[in-house]
Symmetry: C2
């Protein structure tokens, strides 16, 4: 491995009562996960926490100490329940105030009389020392403070912010993966698959059962940063499957 | 509030490299969230962790000390990457072995010669002291150890296990909610909405922007365990919206 391939890791904190109540399905963390995998960044954890300052502070502080990057989504809009920026300031022990750069961004969009009201100005509250993340869709910026990247919860805006941030991130060697459909039940594959895994320690083999028209089938996913190891393990998996007794 | 309405809380631990890599979207936690909300149980946190024993042990131990119930999904199948049962045993400091009750359940389904092989028998490994959770779909049981409820990752099986467990749970007073579509941008609602929230401290009002045919719109969700408080806050929200200047 080259030096630049040192493990780059990440965690996601989804801030949202609406996800915990089941009212809204979180799609942001899945999109971030896919993006990070493509960048060779290992996503180590996703946490969904309520719109409560102590919960946000605790999650941000626990995770920022452990991973290269923490991504948060949600809670940076104009309403009283948008408390992420304040919580992140508390997590870092820094002040927070209306940021003139953020105010200028909002003025671009809300230029009519009275449009940049008290609520919208809340979206310019940025912890001291943070860099802004441009929001090409609705202007109100996200921000980055040290290794914590604070993004909106609206999926289209979150994606745009992630696109802004992605080129600035340290990346790792991407993890390559191959999926082999076993056309067998997981229980019939388990023992010989464990032997393949033992013989190929440079890959991680995952086994994922799924319903295939009313019957169980299994996807075997082989993952590695080493193309040759991946190819060798894939060949071994296919050979193993060919040798299975068929019921 | 009556005595039985003491807060009943929960957390979900999703165990799965496939979710962290973005390969699979987790739908289980959303289903659990909806079910718990219906039962009046407050879901406090969702964590997605990798298929690694230390990560599972840490999440289970951190959360089981804080909430009434911890639900885990994933990692109880027959393959080498299914390590949840062992991790939960480690978290509790108890032993684990093939459980005769679980073996009997598997024998029902895998009665042909050689069918109940070494891999499938792994699914009968249950930590000492756990109660089994029946699996009407594929027989391999989940289990409950103290306040930790261990379920499968395959959604249909997870749901069946949750249906088995739900009637045994302590429940709280359900949280009632009303959604009012503002037909206004969040930034135009923010300041008067904060005043409504201050005047109605027995409800929690959330504001959720969404794209409504290319324009931003806002759902206001009012939540409370008290029907009268909910009705009063809803009326105040509707009155507030009627008084908004329309652009």
């Amino acid at each position: 491995m080259t030096e630049q391939s040192e493990a780059v890791t990440a965690a996601v904190v989804v801030i949202g009562d609406e996800v915990l109540s089941g009212r809204t399905r979180d799609t942001n963390s899945g999109h971030i996960a896919e993006t990070l995998t493509r960048l060779g960044v290992d996503l180590r954890e996703i946490r969904v926490v309520p719109d409560e300052q102590p919960a946000i502070v605790e999650a941000v502080n626990a995770l920022r100490a452990r991973v290269t990057y923490v991504f948060t989504t949600g809670g940076i809009g104009p309403t009283h329940d948008d408390i992420t920026a304040d919580a992140v300031a508390v997590a870092f022990g820094v002040g927070i105030d209306h940021d003139p750069r953020a105010v200028a961004m909002l003025q671009e969009r809300f230029s009519g009389p009275g449009e940049l009201n008290e609520g919208r100005l809340r979206m310019a509250r940025i912890p001291f020392g943070a860099e802004l993340i441009a929001n090409p869709i609705s202007k109100a910026p996200g921000f980055r403070l040290e290794n914590v990247i604070v993004m909106a919860g609206v999926p289209a805006i979150m994606r745009a912010m992630l696109d802004e941030v992605a080129p600035t991130l340290k990346t790792g060697e991407p993890i390559l993966s191959e999926t082999v459909r076993a056309d067998a039940k997981e229980g019939d594959v388990a023992t010989p698959l464990a032997a393949v895994q033992r013989a190929h320690p440079d890959v991680a083999i995952g086994s994922y059962p799924f319903m295939d028209g009313g019957r169980f089938n299994t996807n075997l996913v082989i993952r590695s940063r080493k193309p040759e190891a991946l190819a060798a393990a894939r060949a071994a998996v296919i050979e193993m499957l060919a040798g299975l007794p068929r019921s």
